[in-house]
Each structure stands twice: as C-alpha cells, then as structure tokens.
C-alpha cells in the first residue's frame, strides 16, 4: 500500500502542475501565491505603520503619502489593508480546516458504525445541507459567542455538511472498487481500510474542494466581520475594515471599496485555482461539472458543388423518391477533416425498401442524416445531386421544401426512449407535425394523431395521447415514433437501427409494421442496420457500406447466394446461426474497421481482405454494374468464397425469428 500511496502523491503533484499550464490556472496560481505571501509578510513588515495613530490626518482621501487615505484615527488604510491580509487568510484557512475535519468525521462515520446510526448521520447531513451556510454560521455564532473564535467555529461547522456530503459520495464510490473488496477479503478491518486505503485515494478531490471552500470561507468571514459578528476591534480583517469604512462612504469611498476589492480578489484566487485544478482532474465541481456536455453535434452547410445540377421539377409516380450522387459528409478533426461518407450514389423508387448495412463507423448513419438534412455543425454535406420528390435539396430550403420534408420524409431513430421529448405529451408531439405542415388546428391535429396511433396498433389511442413518453413501453414508443412519421403522407421513411434498442419479441412487430405501411401506402423505406438478417427480411435491395462508400448494391434475394464483395461475404459469415445468442451485437468480421480520419489509399478493405493484392492497395475500385441491378466495388469479385454454409443458416435464422414473433 505504501507504493500506491506514493504513486498517488507524485501523480497528484504532476496533475496540479498541469493545472498551472492552463491560462486560468497560471493566473489564479500567481494571484493565490501573492495573497498567501502577503498574508505572511505584511503583518511582520508593516504592523507598525498600520497601527500608528495620527490625529492630524483623520479621514483623509487618497494622497501620495496615504495611497488610499486614512481612517477616523488617522491610521494609514493602505498598510491596514495589507496587514489585514494576514488575519483574513489565517481565519479563513482555520475555518476551512475545521469544516474539512468535521466533514470528514461526519462523512466517514456512516461507513464505520452500525447501519442504523450511519443512516441517521446521513439523514442529518442531508437536512443540514439544505440550509444555506450563512444561516448555519449565524446559528453557531450565537452559540459560540460574537468574536473571532466563535466566527471561526461557526463558519467551520457551517461548511461541514457539504464536505460531509462530498466525503460520503467519494467513500461510497471507492468502497465499490476492486481493491477495497480485495482488502476486505484479506481481512483488513473497517477502520484500517478507511484510513489506509480509502482516504488516500479520495484526498485529492477533497483538497481541491477545500481550496475552493477556502475562498468561500474567506468571503463568509468578511461577511461576518462586516456584520460585526466576527473580528472585534482593535483587531481587524478585511470585513472589519469594510464595516468601519462603510459609514463614511460619502466622505471617503476608498475606505469601503478597497477592502471590498481585496476580498473579491483573494476569494477569486482560491476559487479559480481550485476550479482550474478540478478541471485537470476531471473532478466535477458544482458549476464546471456539466461542461463536458458541450457536445459537437452540428449544423451542416449544405454545399452544392459547382458542377451543374439539373433540376427536375416533375414528381410523377415514375420518378424516384430520392436520388443522391456523390454524397460526401465531413467533419473537421484535430488532424484534418474526417470524412465518414465518401461519395455515395443511389436512388430509391416509390415503395421500394432498401437496406443499408455495415459495421459501426461505416458511414451508414451519417448517410441517413445527410439525406435528411440533419447533419449538424460543424459537419458539412456536399453532393453533385440530392433530390427528394424531384426537389433539389442542395440550396437552402424554402418554406415549401420544409413542408415537403416535414410531411413526406419521416425519420425513425434507434432509441425511442431518447427520441421523444420527455416533458411533452405524446399527443402534442404527434399533433405538432400536422399543425405545422398540414394547417390543422389543435383539435383536428389531435384527432389525426389518435388515428395514426391506431394505425400503428397502439391500443387505447385517445388515452395514450395524453400520456408522456415514459409511460409507454419501448416497443410501443417506437410504434408511436413511426406513427409520428406517418402524420403526413410520407413518401420515404428512413429508419436508423429502429429495433436495436428493443426486445427481440417486439422487434418483429416493429418490422412488420414498417412493411405493412410500405405495402399500404407505397412508401419507400431506407432501413439502416448492422443486421443483415433483418435487412434481408424487410428489404428488396441491400446496400453494403464500408468506410463511407457503397461497396456492393444487390437485390436482397441474391444476398445469400450471389454476394460478390469479400466484405459482404465476411458479413454474411458473421451472421449468427441458431446456436448463437441473438442478443449479442453482430459477430465480428476479423480485423479492424477503417479509421475514418485515416482512410488508406487503394481499397479501404484491403487490410482485412483475404484476396487483397498489390492492385488493391494501389487503386480504389469503383462501384461498377455487374449484372442487372447488382453493383460491386472490388477488383476481384467472386461468388461464395468460404460462405457456403451461410445460405441455409440464414434462412433458418430468419424463419426462426419469424416463427417466434407470430
């Protein structure tokens, strides 16, 4: 254990030094150093000047002799301010020390004593935390009496509950670690476990919080002294100086402003330094804790490449629902742009169901988002052609286009739990679409929503409309999501892994629902999935994506027997057979997927491909038409290498799934 302790200590020093390298850390550390140095030096050097009474220079304003003037006894305020640093800092540190010590006791006692007493202490701490520190401080100030000692005790005890709360949380987190369990098994007693194992490991966050807490104590002390409840004359700290200065604010504003400023600067120094260290540690402090939530999901700039874009205005039934040529999606990355989608081209006919398969990172989701115009800043989308129902989508959308997208382009996302707004009723979330895009009023829109919920087989639709998403089961939520998609009259439903987050039993219901909608209303479906079996079940055509490109495009019926691309064949070989646990994610294709920030030259699959040769690593194969309705991007396409066993098993598997669901 000795070693682990020293490791912690040296690591701690390194991390605190790292904090000094951030701008905030460096500035606040310098400020803190000056405050602390002044606290030590000033009382030694200047106590004489600070306490020298000069009745000839009473209540003077700032002058070269007295930089910020004099008080009612003619004492020099500048020196008094400097000397007061000593007492102010000393008292704040003393109070913080008491707070930490009392907090440690209150926070660790629950883990040492019997459960019942532990609970009682915890409950007490929880109640005490709810009361503001100043109120507690005044309460204790009454008990301990007005004055310096009383105020130190008061502020110390007032900060104890929040330290206790933090300690409890930290101790609880550590107690679950493996090494504590090991120590327990080795017969190390409770107290020893706490002192030797747990405390050293929670020391660092505690010290950081104590640093921030010292800033708070400094301010609190200034407050109490200002009220006359803290330091009593003839002693003086900044709060006391402020108290004395405030009366004459008309005559002599500096006497009140200067100590106030000193308190703020010193408080900030402790506070910012603590926060800076906390940031390098990743310790959550009350404010900075959520900073990490700044995620980078981004709005696109839909850039139309300068190539000529033919606008087709007709949208008769014979035309495709969606056409895309040379679709690129890229994000700025630390080492140059990352391009998850690199030149995807295909089109979707009315009522056609097309699956997009590939491992995670193959660009299938980004493709779906780009088609839906939902790629967020700083991502950017470009294409030589992107049309939905004959409307060009590359220029910034007009009102009419938004309307078309809103009524005819539906999205179904992976996690129905997260995809509904938790604070709005399901009815309102569905009705919104009709109110916005179909010009319905609220009543009509809700009636339509009820009708749509019935269409997706949600029982008791009227009652369900008034419920919140959390009152729906997972499968029902996903059906409601599809119901939201068919509020208008969709021509295309893009479903991104719509069943991955669901139980196996409800997966089939959702898939059948999608199929039924497609049949009934001639709706095209783009089904994004990592699961070949599932895609084979619903879709007529399959697009296989690898490293941001379509590597194979073939009819679903040909998938099992006529797949030509080595990657498709590897995916098929990885399809789970009947003995495999189907809850598990897709069995892996050997090797690692290509890194979208470092796509190699030549065929991106070459490093994992059994058939790769020198040609493959040199030149990237294009997606070329093989036979009717079958495109492949590979230099050495061939049928059925090492996947002879797949067809039968695939069918068995699909049959099993279907049998189970019906």
């Amino acid at each position: 254990m000795r070693t682990s302790k020293t490791v912690t200590a040296s690591g701690m020093a390194a991390r605190w030094l790292a904090a000094l390298k951030t701008p905030v850390g460096a500035v606040s550390a310098a400020m803190l150093f000056m405050v602390l140095a002044m606290a030590v030096v000033a009382p030694i050097l200047w106590t004489g000047q600070a306490e020298e009474i000069n009745t000839k220079a009473i209540l003077q304003g700032p002058s070269p002799e007295h930089l910020i003037g004099t008080d009612s006894l003619g004492r020099d305020l500048f020196y008094r301010l400097l000397v007061a640093t000593g007492l102010s800092v000393k008292l704040a540190l003393a109070a913080t020390g008491i707070g930490v010590a009392a907090g440690l006791v209150l926070g660790t006692v629950p883990s040492l004593l019997s459960r019942r007493i532990g609970r009682l202490v915890t409950a007490f701490v929880n109640i005490a935390v709810a009361f503001p520190g100043l109120l507690l401080a005044m309460f204790f100030a009454v008990i301990f009496g007005v004055g310096q000692t009383g105020a130190v005790l008061a502020i110390g005890l007032a900060t104890a509950p929040s330290f206790a709360r933090l300690t409890q949380t930290l101790v609880a987190a550590q107690s679950e670690r493996d090494y504590i369990a090991a120590a327990k098994l080795a017969g190390v007693g409770r107290v020893r476990r706490l002192l030797r194992h747990i405390l050293p490991n929670i020391a660092e966050p505690l010290v950081v919080t104590a640093t921030i807490g010292a800033g708070g104590s400094l301010l609190a002390f200034a407050g109490l002294s200002f009220l006359g409840l803290g330091v009593q004359p003839p002693a003086y700290d900044w709060g006391r100086l402020l108290n004395e200065g405030l009366n004459d604010i008309y005559l002599h504003p500096m006497a009140a402003l200067a100590p106030g400023l000193a308190v703020v600067v010193a408080g900030l120094a402790f506070n910012l330094f603590g926060e800076a260290v906390a940031k390098t540690l990743g310790t959550p402090t009350p404010i900075s804790g959520k900073g990490a939530a700044t995620q980078h999901i981004h709005r696109p700039k839909t850039v139309a490449p300068s190539t000529d874009v033919e606008l087709s205005t007709s949208s008769s039934d014979g035309d495709p629902v969606l056409t895309v040529n040379d679709l690129f999606v890229s994000f700025p990355g630390p080492a140059g742009p990352i391009t998850p989608v690199r030149g995807v081209s295909f089109s979707l006919a009315r009522g056609e169901a097309v699956g997009v398969v590939g491992e995670s990172g193959s660009g299938k989701t980004q493709t779906a988002l780009a088609l839906a115009q939902l790629v967020e800043y700083p991502g950017s989308v470009s294409a030589s052609r992107l049309e939905f129902l004959g409307q060009d989508q590359l220029s910034s959308p007009s009102r009419a286009q938004r309307q078309t997208l809103g009524t005819s382009f539906a999205m179904v996302f992976q996690d129905p739990m997260k995809s509904f707004n938790p604070t709005m009723r399901i009815g309102a979330q569905l009705a919104e679409v009709a109110q916005r895009h179909l010009g319905m009023n609220r009543r009509q829109a809700l009636a339509r929503a009820a009708d749509r919920l019935r269409a997706v087989r949600v029982p008791a639709a009227e009652r369900r409309l008034r419920q919140y998403p959390h009152e729906f089961s997972g499968g029902m939520r996903q059906r409601a999501m599809i119901g939201m998609g068919i509020m208008g009259s969709p021509a295309l439903i893009v479903a991104d892994e719509p069943t991955t987050a669901l139980d196996v039993t409800v997966q089939q219901q959702v898939l059948r629902l999608l199929s039924a909608i497609k049949e009934q209303d001639n709706v095209a479906i783009l089904l994004i999935s990592h699961d070949l079996t599932l895609v084979g079940q619903v879709c007529e055509r399959v697009l296989v994506m690898y490293a941001g490109r379509i590597v194979e495009d073939l009819p679903a019926t040909e998938l099992a027997e006529r797949a030509m691309h080595p990657y498709t064949q590897a995916l098929l070989a990885a399809v789970p057979d009947m003995e495999t646990d189907r809850d598990r994610p897709l069995a892996v294709v050997p090797g690692r997927p290509a890194d979208p920030s470092r796509i190699p030259a030549g065929c991106a699959f070459a490093s994992r491909c059994p058939k790769a040769d020198e040609h493959c690593t040199r030149e990237d194969p294009e997606l070329l038409q093989r036979d009717d309705g079958h495109r492949v991007a590979c230099w050495h396409p061939s049928r059925g290498t090492g996947s002879e066993r797949v067809p039968i098993e695939l069918k068995l598997h699909a049959a099993a799934l279907q049998g189970e669901a019906s």
């Binding site: 503001p132 007005v146 996302f413």
Partner: protein, 327 residues
C-alpha cells in the same frame, strides 16, 4: 427520517400522492430538526444567557426574575414542551430588549425582507433565463467560441463577487457618484433598486451559466434531433422542445440559490440599513436578545424549507418523470 417518510409513502399507490407524501414527510422531519435546533440554541450557549444579556453588573435578583419569566428554571423537557406549545399557538416569546412579542417584531420586519428577496429572485430569473438560453443557442455545438469565452468569464467574475460587496460598489457608483438612488433605507420605489439589483446580479450570472450549459446539453439530445426531423421552425425547437427541459435541470440549482438568497438578505440589508429580518437578527445577536434570534432563525429556516418544497413541486409538474423516481 426514512421511517416516517416510508410509512407515509407506502400508504399510497398513485405516483403523485406518493410523491407529495414523501415530500411532506421530509418537510415535517426537517421542520422538527429546525425547531429543535432553534430551541437548543439558547441552551447550548456556554454560561448563563440571561446573565450575558443583562451584563455582569446586573443585580442577581433581576437575573433570577428574568430566568424565571423565561422559564429557564424548568427541566429541559418541560421547556421543550412549552416551546412547542408556544410555537403552535404562534407565540415565539418576548424580546428581552424591547419587551415586544417576538411574533410582532417578526411581523413588522418580514415584509421588507420578503419583498427584497422576492424581487431579487424574480429579477435574477428574468435576466438569466433569456440570457442563458440565448447564449446556449448561439454557442451550441461549439459555435462562436469568442462569444462563449466573453460570456463565461464575465459571468464567473460577477458570480464570484458576494452580494454585499457588490452592494457597496453599487452604492458608491450609483448613489454616491451619480446620486440616482438613495444610499440606504426603504422608502419609495427608487430605494428598492440598489438592494434588489445587488442581490440579483450574482445569482443571475450564475444561473445564466447553468441555463446555458443545460441548454447546450438539451440541444444535443436526440429528441431535439427528432424535432428537427419534423422540420419545425427554430423558435418552436428552442422554446417548446429545448427550454422546458433545460429549465427542469436548472430548477434544482435555482432552488438552492433562492434559499441561499434568503440568507443573503442578511448582509445586503445591513449595507442598506434595510429594516428587515436581516438587520434585526444581527442587532439581536449583538444585543444578546435570544428570543428574537431564535424566532428569526426559525423564520429563515422555514423560508428555506418552503422554497425547497416549492422547487420540488414545480419540478414534479414540469418533469413528469421525477414523480416516479424516488428522490
């Protein structure tokens, strides 16, 4: 506390009643702790509080008479019973300095404090919600880094200045230098400006940072993407979908802040010689007028508990999930 709360909670089944019962159970226990603490306060003071209050030169007979009048010679449990009985009847004791009933003293002073804290909270919310939400929208997904930096650093500095020091600064600038507002006291509307602003500004800065951070995390949530997929206009996405969710998360911290504000009035009142509970409690502590101190501590404590309860209830109404969760 857990036993009491559990019994109440188990007796019901609907999530709302269970939720309300739990919160009330917790309130009752907290109240009891508060009342007991305020009762014990006077007994925890080392030495004889009456002697301390009257001074060492007061005749022994007078001290004894006072002790008798305050009931300090009864056994502790009896005093506790009397104290509780008194509280139920609205009797908080008699001030030792003015001989007025404490309840009357509090009644006189309470409105001034309540107005100040209430207005300050209102102002803080009115500033922070729009500012925080706007900053969240403007800087979402790492946009406008400079705006973000300027906003964050300004708000950190403003939030770090304690209310009473801000008050001193504001007095100097707006009352002494510019003469726009009175330096102290409570009279017409203009006398409210500086106290309320100095109470509100720091909280507004802190709260707007929290609103922004919450807004950012909500804007990157999947349900906002769903809303965009529905092609709703920006303002509906921000106001109807994002803001309520950002505010539920803000509310918890906002509530903590409001209860801190209740106590923060003490210092600001003393800067402005505001005739509220804050200046009363300080004067009473200095004069060792313990019944008044006890009473005011009780009022502040109850204020804090009520604020916490209101926050919980508001949270329960805004976010239907929180009623289900054991809190």
């Amino acid at each position: 506390m857990s036993i009491a709360t559990r019994v109440v909670a188990d007796a019901t089944d609907s999530p709302w009643t269970g939720f309300v019962a739990r919160r009330i159970g917790r309130l009752v226990v907290s109240l009891w702790v508060l009342v007991t603490a305020s009762f014990l306060m006077i007994h925890l003071i080392p030495g004889d509080p009456v002697r301390a209050a009257l001074g060492s030169s007061a005749p022994g007979a007078l001290v004894e008479a006072r002790r008798e009048a305050l009931g300090l010679n009864d056994p502790l449990w009896l005093q506790y019973v009397h104290y509780l009985q008194g509280l139920l009847g609205g009797n908080l004791g008699i001030s030792m300095t003015s001989d007025l009933p404490v309840a009357q003293v509090i009644g006189d002073r309470f409105p001034a404090t309540f107005e100040m804290a209430g207005l300050a909270f209102l102002l803080a919310v009115l500033i922070s919600v729009p500012v925080g939400a706007l900053m969240g929208v403007l800087t979402r997904g790492g946009r406008r880094r400079r705006t973000e930096l300027a906003f964050t650093s300004t708000s950190i500095v403003v939030a770090a200045i304690p209310e009473f020091l801000l008050a001193v600064g504001l007095v100097f600038f707006f009352a002494v230098q510019l003469g726009w507002f009175p330096v102290a006291g409570r009279s017409d509307a203009s006398s409210y400006v500086l106290p309320v602003v100095s109470m509100a500004l720091g909280s507004a800065a802190m709260l707007s940072r929290i609103v922004r951070v919450e807004m950012l995390s909500v804007l990157s949530a999947e349900y906002v993407r769903t809303a965009r997929a529905k092609r709703l206009p920006g303002w509906i996405i921000y106001f109807r979908h994002a803001l309520p969710n950002a505010l539920t998360a803000t509310l918890t911290i906002g509530g903590l802040m409001l209860s801190a504000m209740v106590a923060g009035t003490v210092l600001v009142e003393n800067v402005f010689a505001w005739p509220g509970l804050g200046s009363t409690i300080v004067a009473s502590i200095l004069a060792k007028d313990y019944p008044v101190v006890q009473g005011v501590v009780l009022v502040y404590g109850v204020g804090v508990l009520l604020v916490n309860l209101l926050v919980d209830v508001a949270l329960g109404m805004l976010d239907p999930r929180s009623t289900i969760k054991e809190g």
